[in-house]
Symmetry: C2
DNA sequence: TTGATCGAAGGAACCGGTTTCCAAAGTCTT
DNA sequence: AAGACTTTGGAAACCGGTTCCTTCGATCAA
């Protein structure tokens, strides 16, 4: 067996995978991950051959391949992901950027994406933008450079900027927003349709005065909801709509409970389930009965919506499916294929027990 | 200005950052990220100098540095993370492995870790092991090779195997379990103490018959809870403990509601908050009043625990803090420092409204 | 004026893989 | 047995950075 010394230019006196820990600490030697050169030397072949064997190239003789595999096994050799990525120009990692990790909505998307990506040997990098527009852009660029693709749930960044960025971010899939002038693939939810379904439901129960607990003003999906609500209020005679600035979190809804009562409305349309929960809880503390005194609806159908008391009437969106479809589209893009048409998911109205007939008022 | 051609061995006729898209597609050229060679050529310096400037080395003359920066700016140059990582031997990414991403407990840890890591310029890779022991090990190794360190919430892998793996996984921080014989840093929760607090609370309310809705049997933290409960039942005269195999998820608790009633116990100690919610909801559907007919406790204090009806009595554990501390320890390890002593977080009993006096039974 | 010292910047090795290109060896044909 | 074709596997370029080592020129002390 002829021992080659490729890749061992450093310590030629010693072919075992040992190396100085760092340039500073020259006293102690410790075992370090063996590299392709060590395996090649051990098997008596070139590094090229080791690479071929590790990647299952059919052009290497079976008995040689076996010898290489044995050597790799003996040394417990694992190819460096980094070096491999650099050479191949691909990392097998994709990134997800969400505004708020504490929102169960994004958690479910994260999960769906993670599982779909994992099924095809890809890992998921997660970053939270904390609703900060400036940071969101930098974060997106940064994350993109760590990975092969991006799923971007970025409701706040203005369209023009997104368009400018998109070249550097590609391949990218947008969540929950579309950029009209562009051909950026996006998966979104038809919030307007969901709101219309909710309003129709409430109207049929006799409600005529609705409060909308608004989400973040810059949020695209909030704007969509507001528009749908206003359109409905204009189209329906005798329909009163009150808007209260609120937020997207639990605490926001909780804090809004008194304001809701003050409006004398008979039903609350909350920005999302989290806000609805907060309001539910706040109203409960104030001794208000739901749905007898007031009805409440949410949006998203996060897992807990079924289990509150009373269970929450809400518009369900297929969060896992969103994650999965995001992966499918990203995967297509990464392979240079067309991502297919944008999907506009239709929310499904789930009528539970937080909505009931409008109470009859003594005027 | 002398134009060097370092890094441009490929297309020497053209110094602009253009390159063939791939080896197969030779017809179309498209703009590609410029590399350090392009910047060096544009600024008329060596690649080494560009590197120094990009990393803020003080040994570069100010006017030269300015020229390099201008060139980088003009080309919109961004150093390749990959190449940088390979050269530096560090990725600025850490991995988190959790058994179940749908558990809010882990979501909060994820969030805490992500934020702490981000604050020091690191990104987070997330992987879900789906409670599969074999996959958990492979996943951990895989994830580790993508990153500089690992936070491992892996309750099921046997201790010996974990010990064997630990060398390859280091630096690693364990969550929610300790491996006695090793010096693996770990952050855990004193589940026994939490259980004792819960039991004491229930006993003081007059409860004498408790059902424990057990979590996954292989789970280390479940074993700790069981042990604490049994110890309490042995130590307290007239204390009856019934154990029901259950699980860790919502649905598990929901399904167990009937079984709970059948035991005639006056209080339920659920494995965690999710299970408690499920049970709460199941009992509600069966027309059982909580806490009047039966008391329920959870564990973890996930965000929703405050907002259920009735709000859940539970043992609170500092999930964000767990994530943050995990980062601190990992960071210490990654810098070759000592991670400090293992921390055993003490749960805090939060008495809410899901527990009340034991009902007086007519025997 | 000369020798020593110091700072700045370039050359080249290196991180650890992949892949092209090519030479050598082996097989088949006539 | 010679020429043509097919495997097989090695050498070396390449991915895109970082950094050690060296050189060159300027400054400073003698």
């Amino acid at each position: 067996m002829s021992l080659k010394t490729d890749g061992l230019r450093h310590d030629e006196e010693d072919s075992s995978p040992l190396r100085r820990t760092s340039r500073r600490n020259t006293t102690r030697r410790e075992r370090v991950a063996p590299n392709i050169g060590h395996v090649a030397a051990a098997a008596g072949v070139s590094r090229a051959t080791v690479s071929r064997v590790m990647n299952g190239s059919p052009t290497v003789a079976p008995e040689l391949a076996a010898r290489v595999r044995a050597a790799a096994e003996a040394l417990n050799y694992q190819p460096s992901r980094l070096a491999r990525s650099l050479a191949l120009g691909r990392t097998s990692v994709v990134s997800l950027i969400v505004p708020d990790l504490s929102n169960p909505m994004f958690q479910d998307i994260l999960r769906g994406l993670s599982q779909a990506a994992a099924a095809q040997g890809h890992r998921l990098l997660v970053a939270e933008s904390n609703e900060n527009i400036q940071e969101e852009k930098i974060l997106a660029l940064e994350a993109r450079r760590h990975s092969d693709g991006l799923v971007l749930a970025s409701p706040r960044v203005p369209e023009e900027e997104l368009l400018t960025l998109s070249e550097q971010l590609a391949p990218v899939v947008l969540l929950n927003r579309e950029v009209p002038g562009s051909n950026l693939p996006s998966l979104s939810v038809d919030y307007a349709a969901g709101i219309r379904a909710i309003v129709t439901h409430l109207l049929s129960l006799g409600h005529r005065h609705l409060v909308y607990l608004a989400g973040p003003v810059a949020s695209a999906s909030n704007q969509e909801r507001v528009a749908a609500l206003r359109a409905a209020s204009v189209a329906t005679p005798g329909f009163t709509l009150t808007e209260i600035p609120c937020g997207s979190m639990f605490e926001d809804g909780h804090a809004a409970a008194r304001a809701v009562l003050a409006t004398k409305a008979t039903a609350v349309v909350a920005f999302n389930d989290m806000v609805a929960f907060g309001t539910l809880s706040g109203l409960h503390e104030l001794g208000v009965a739901v749905p007898d005194d007031i009805s409440i609806t949410g949006f998203d159908d996060i897992p807990f919506a079924r289990y509150t008391t009373p269970p929450l009437t809400t518009a369900s969106i297929p969060k896992n499916e969103l994650g999965k479809q995001a992966w499918d589209r990203l995967w297509a893009l990464m392979n240079g294929e067309s991502p297919g048409h944008n999907v506009h998911f239709q929310p499904r109205l789930l009528i539970r027990e937080s909505t009931g007939p409008a109470p009859t008022r003594h005027a």
